[in-house]
């Protein structure tokens, strides 16, 4: 029945033909190879959540050396840029409305006088909350700068009273794996998953459906190839293409963005291979349902690109989603792949840390490929 040498001899022309077709379609080839590299380049440089240069304005009602010193402690922190100076509350409104300032600090009239008199001072801080993430981080920075001021005041006070300054609790956070908290290190492995998912699912689904549309798929089905052989012949070229792109993006990640690969390359590639099989399986499955390229593309977008971008933990933490979506997030193999990538690349771990994910990816690949084979076999019988 399934003799390996014969099977290989039969599959080879399918692979060669698929390769030729991919190579002949120059536009699609360029898109498949160049755009991911370009995107990776832009993503590594341009996209991050590292909030710096927050546009800050002051409305200083006190105008003393102390209040200016207070202002300076924000500007020297490295997080804020002075964007404007307000002279009244109408200015403040206008700055926030027009986006000239993202935050405005209002220093009250008796700021320095009350400081000298050891009184409590309330400083008004207005934050543009539109971008909630930047807003939250801005709030954190401002709070910590003001807290530093307050504790300095307390220390000075105790010094004056002859009490030895003392701080009950001290904490110095230690950060592992990504000590500078650079979001590129978090995002780049995710984008590798995104790019591979795109090229694997979309190109497989479209290339099979195109043959369906042109009627050449029927020719294949009446050939002596059995269904498994057709599927192998159709997936291998795309697998190789995606593996080549993966080398490109990993090299870029390493050399351009200094995203390390702390674990073993073999663990990395066994993860990538398994993930690509799962992604190709998904592409195949789509191609058995869709009859036109538009539909195949739309199905790929809905079932792979959107879930990968939204539900895989690539950008948005899965933990913050409603429970129903946390369950739904399991439909995308990228979720599991990203865990593997981050474990190997950033943490230097091996399969012992993520064997659940490996099992899931294998199951996903087996189920999707198996189901496609069955569906294709049924369709063949119908022909």
């Amino acid at each position: 029945m399934f003799e390996l040498p014969n099977a290989l001899r039969r599959i080879k022309p399918v692979i060669v033909k698929e390769f030729l077709q991919v190579r002949r379609d120059k536009v699609s080839l360029a898109i498949l190879l160049l755009i991911p590299a370009f995107l990776m380049f832009m993503i590594g440089y341009a996209l991050n959540f590292d909030v710096k240069h927050i546009k800050l304005a002051f409305y200083d009602q006190d105008k003393t050396t102390t209040s200016r010193e207070f202002q300076r402690s924000f500007l020297t922190s490295g997080y804020f840029d002075l964007s404007a100076v307000a002279n009244n509350y109408r200015d403040v409104d206008g700055m926030l409305d027009s986006g000239t300032a993202r935050a405005v600090i209002v220093i009250p009239r008796d700021f320095s006088k009350n400081l000298l008199a050891d009184k409590d001072i309330a400083v008004q801080v207005l934050i543009d909350g539109t971008d909630s993430n930047t807003g939250t981080i801005t709030l954190g920075y401002i709070t910590s700068i003001i807290q530093t001021w307050s504790s300095k005041l307390t220390a000075e006070f105790m010094d004056r009273k002859g009490v030895t300054p003392y701080q009950p609790v001290d904490v110095r956070p230690k950060i592992w794996y990504n000590p500078e908290l650079a979001s590129a290190k978090f995002l780049v492995p995710g984008f590798i998953g995104f790019i591979l998912m795109l090229s694997a699912v979309v190109s497989t689904a479209l290339s099979v459906v195109r043959e369906k549309e042109q009627g050449t798929m029927e020719q294949l089905t009446v050939s002596p190839l059995n269904t498994v052989e057709i599927i192998i012949g159709k997936t291998v070229p795309h697998l190789i293409n995606a593996l080549i792109s993966s080398v490109f993006v990993l090299l870029m990640a390493y050399f351009l963005f200094h995203v390390p690969i702390r674990g073993e390359i073999i663990w990395l590639y066994s993860g990538i291979l398994l993930f690509l099989l799962a992604a190709l399986g998904q592409g195949m499955l789509i191609s058995t349902f869709a009859n036109t390229q538009e539909v195949a593309f739309m199905m790929s977008v809905l079932s792979s690109i959107l879930p990968t971008f939204l539900l895989s933990g690539l950008v948005f933490p899965i933990k913050s989603m409603p429970v129903a979506l946390q369950v739904l997030s399991n439909i995308t193999p990228t979720k599991f792949f990203i865990i593997i990538l981050r474990d190997v690349m950033l943490k230097g771990l091996g399969p012992w840390a993520y064997w659940h994910e490996l099992v899931y990816l294998s199951l996903f690949a087996v189920v999707t490929l198996g189901f496609s084979a069955r569906k294709m076999a049924q369709q063949r019988k119908a022909v």
Binding site: V27, A117, K119, Q124, I142, T143, P168, L311, L325, L346
Partner: protein, 373 residues
């Protein structure tokens, strides 16, 4: 006029005949919005935390309670030793490990500084940055409370500075209010851009475009007849997703809803222009889709401030974002929704969109005519 009318009718019929295309044009946008509305959140909640309490006194428990009651942390493991606590981090079971050493309470009460250890997994830099902010806030608050209690013996208390926050436009700092207005725009872009380019390339592929060209229909009539149906579909989609955004997700719509339609109308100029442009480049629908996806959707999504703030990007790339029409539309839509901005604050976004839109559309029309002629 009549020729255009018939073309529009033909185009709409063709679009709505295909059950799947019907689904893609009408139901998919709503589904996308629903999923995005729930998933696209950068809010930081329930950060998994491992705790080692080596002290086990009322002081250490008071500190732990402050963490667990804050709502930002979720205790996922109680460790038996400091090493055990870090093991939770290594296995990914916790993102933050709090280690309270033995002798914590005797240090604190004995006026010696107690040293806490806080170890974080920096992989998810953004969430952890926010979580660390919360933890220092909690610990400093606890520390200050203790210091004040112990200083009560002295006659005067030191003064301090308390920030009083007023968060504007998005008072609860919910990321949903930031993301959903953007998704409305995204849906509009995807639908109008893809459908336009697909419809023309499809006729090219099956050869009916040539048939249309030998009819007495003039090229500009043909283009209008091809574009108008997608403006209609786009506007229907905007209405659907606006309804979901306002009534289901309860995103505050503070500005004038007519402004959103007005801006959408201006924005559609650019998406139709790009769609038409793609149809002059692509030979097959597959190429058209790939160009739309990789050449436009993905770069637009990333370089428009959709998720990643433009202010965080390097200066050179910030200039590039001025070329992205989505950028202006997102800015305007978010401002209409949350700030309730009127036209006097939005005119420069509108002007930029009109310039880009008219430019792209006329270039594409010239190219289209040349290709057809």
């Amino acid at each position: 006029m009549k020729a255009i009318y018939h073309l529009v009718i033909k185009e709409l019929k063709q679009l709505l005949r295909d059950k799947r295309m019907r689904f893609m044009a009408i139901a998919a946008p709503v589904i996308q919005l629903a999923v995005l509305g729930y998933a696209a959140t950068t809010d930081v909640r329930s950060i998994p935390m491992a705790i080692y309490d080596g002290d086990k006194t009322s002081e250490s428990r008071a500190l732990i309670n402050r963490f667990t009651n804050s709502g930002y942390f979720e205790t996922t493991g109680w460790a038996d030793s400091p090493n055990d606590a870090t093991a939770f981090l290594e296995r990914g079971k916790a993102w933050i490990a709090l280690i309270i050493p033995r002798g914590f309470s005797s240090d604190v009460l004995g006026r010696k500084t107690a040293r806490l250890q806080l170890i974080a997994d920096g992989t998810d830099a953004n969430s952890v940055n926010i979580a660390l902010g919360y933890s220092t806030l909690i610990i400093n608050g606890y520390s200050r409370g203790l210091a004040e209690k112990l200083l009560e013996t002295s006659p005067v208390k030191p003064g301090g500075i308390t920030p009083q926050y007023r968060i504007w436009y998005n008072e609860s700092l919910k990321s949903r209010n930031f993301m959903i207005p953007a998704v409305v725009v995204l849906v509009l872009m995807i639908v109008t851009l893809t459908l336009t380019s697909m419809a023309i390339v499809k006729e090219k592929e099956i050869g009916t475009l040539e048939q249309l060209l030998v009819t007495p229909i003039k090229p500009h009539q043909l283009i209008l007849g091809k574009l108008i149906p997608f403006v209609l579909v786009g506007m229907i989609d905007v209405t659907l997703v606006l309804l979901v955004a306002v009534y289901w997700f309860e995103v505050p719509l503070r500005g004038n809803i007519a402004l959103i339609y007005l801006m959408s109308g201006v924005f559609i100029l650019t998406t139709l222009g790009i769609g038409l442009f793609i149809s002059t480049v692509a030979k097959t629908r597959q190429q058209a889709l790939m160009i739309a996806q990789f050449g436009f959707f993905i770069p637009f999504m990333y370089f428009s401030g959709f998720v990643f703030p433009i202010a965080n990007m390097p200066k050179a790339i910030q200039y590039v974002t001025y070329l992205v029409p989505l950028r202006y539309m997102l800015e305007a839509t978010r401002a209409i929704f949350l700030k309730g901005s009127g036209i006097y604050l939005l005119w420069h976004d509108a002007a930029a969109l009109i310039i880009i839109g008219v430019g792209v559309l006329s270039l594409s029309i010239i190219r289209f005519k040349r290709k057809m002629g």
